[in-house]
Symmetry: C2
Subunit: 341 residues, 2 copies
């Protein structure tokens, strides 16, 4: 229902009212410093120009843009944290350059077009929260032809992994109650396993737990991606396993790239890979019901499809399909909803 | 509104559908083993008798009661976890003795009176979730005269503490962004402090951080306490500080006692004190806006008042009042709502 929808939206924005959420994001040094670096390095594109900051939160990215020389920044924020952002920009004497606009991108207007759009819109598994839709909307409404997107692209990686620690902790515990307390609860194992294998687990994993070379399976060009593309995004993967291992499942993570103004230079990269500094996004683990023995050269081929959950578009469904050495097709849907850590 | 209320109630029971919540409780060894011990030690009261288990969850306490010789256990559970409890009792071949009843105590009937009521009803700060009301309702509806309550009493303790680690992490971080990122966000400190000092923090604290001997301030006798008593429960405290310290705030915790069948014997105690094995309830910290210097013999006197939040009776408001050496009365209300860890 429309009413149900607007309730969900209210809940979504309310979750950003609490300063604790912003603390978690700002003290994610990898996130905040990469944005800072990317913005300062985009000096040539930003100096003297007009910027829109989509989902400005406490306003820190808008401040970075002023430090990079922006003439004007429209800091758009739908939640009441906008009032705190106002204080931050006054404290930093940037209130002559940054204009806080409290509202939803879809519902407001700007007095002018902008040269640059900056936004930290990424959720768990990249697309949880569906905030990218609002960035696309802002781009189509306000970005000048030839304008600059920060970040400019996003990429999802996938790899097979071996790690049964989460499984042991959340599923196998039910086998231990007979010994611990004299009551056998092992009949709950299938239920716990179902819960584990029906939901994406947001956890940190070690790079050494990957059992094949990771594969980039999805590329989003933020200059061109359309809202309709996000209704269902599919990527394909192919792995040749390193050696004898137990395949526990597949893990995804993402990177976002901030193109360099000089096309010959490498983009600045924000990486949430297991080999990178841990971020608050951690990684997205999809466990199989039962682990599978693989050997050196075993091939795992398949696809991963991300789509918004039909009943709450800010939740995410991920459909995983794969074969082992071309046989034995398996398929499962993993949800990412609000039972989050 | 009545509808709003029943929505809140639905949400409350839905939160117990997920097996993860039950896992957290069952692997709290202090909790589960103390209940087990207390039930097995109550053999004389339980053997051959009829028991009601209020909020049975996965059914483990009902199983303990059968192990203690219960002739019949009514396991009452309003959430859908009741179906899992059914599987557990079948697996343990106790389905001839345990009857799972899916429903709310307030709305169902039992075919007979019971000799014993067992329940693990305690929430954060003891009374968060207000589940005790349902236990009282069950007692008044079904417990025979002279029946046995497990636990039989509950007690809230309070102590002044010194510990600014939470404050440093959540409040003082905002002073660091100027150095870290070149954007001064120290104007957010008062907001972060307000959030810290308006909410009970559920954290573990070390016994050595207490700066005076703890004081038992509230006693609830589960045989006699009435629902109306829970509308507002007040306890008083008096502390003589150990020595020179910074008072950061006050911490509460609770114990529940399971009386021994033999009145000369000590009750079995479930303690959530800082000096006890940590439990999933941790402790309840109430921070002051600014820490206060105290000396050896400084007296802190006052009261703590717990009441259900007027807009959601499962949330808790705690009113703290105190004086320092008889002067300087301070007062603050701390909320415990669903922004929980």
């Amino acid at each position: 229902s429309q009413e149900g929808k607007s309730n969900l939206e209210r809940q979504y924005f309310t979750s950003y009212e609490d300063l604790g959420v912003h603390l978690e994001m700002i003290r994610d040094v990898s996130r905040t410093n990469t944005y800072r670096l990317a913005i300062l390095k985009s000096f040539d594109k930003i100096a003297g120009k007009v910027v829109a900051d989509i989902g400005a939160g406490t306003g820190i990215l808008s401040c970075f843009c002023v430090q990079a020389g922006a003439r004007k920044v429209y800091a758009i924020e739908a939640s009441s944290i906008a009032e705190k952002a106002k204080e931050v920009i006054i404290q930093n004497k940037m209130d002559d350059k940054i204009e806080i606009i409290k509202g939803r991108v879809e519902e407001i207007n700007l007095p002018e077009k902008v040269d640059v759009i900056v936004s930290e819109w990424m959720g768990y598994s990249l697309l949880y929260e569906s905030m990218l839709n609002s960035v696309i909307c802002a781009r189509d409404k306000w970005l000048k032809a030839g304008g600059w997107m920060l970040p400019s692209s996003a990429h999802i990686f996938i790899a097979p992994f071996t790690d049964d620690s989460v499984q042991q902790e959340r599923v196998d515990y039910w086998k231990k109650t007979a010994d611990l307390y004299g009551v056998d609860m092992s009949c709950l194992v299938p239920h716990a396993k179902k819960s584990l294998t029906n939901h994406i687990q947001i956890e940190l994993i070690e790079d050494c737990d990957l059992i094949a070379r990771a594969c980039k399976c999805i590329d989003l060009d933020l200059n061109t991606v359309q809202e309709k593309d996000l209704k269902q995004i599919q990527g394909r993967f192919h792995f040749d396993c390193f050696g004898s291992d137990k395949l526990s499942g597949f893990v995804t993570w993402f990177t976002t790239a901030f193109n360099s103004v000089d096309p010959d230079k490498e983009p600045v990269l924000l990486s949430t890979a297991p080999s990178s500094q841990p971020t608050h996004w951690r990684q997205s683990l999809m466990y199989l019901e039962d682990s599978i023995d693989v050997q050196q050269g075993t091939t795992l081929e398949g696809s991963v499809t991300l789509s918004p959950n039909p009943s709450n578009a800010r939740f995410l469904d991920v459909n995983l399909r794969f074969t082992i050495d071309g046989k034995d097709e398996k398929s499962n849907v993993y949800q990412l909803n609000d039972g989050l850590p």
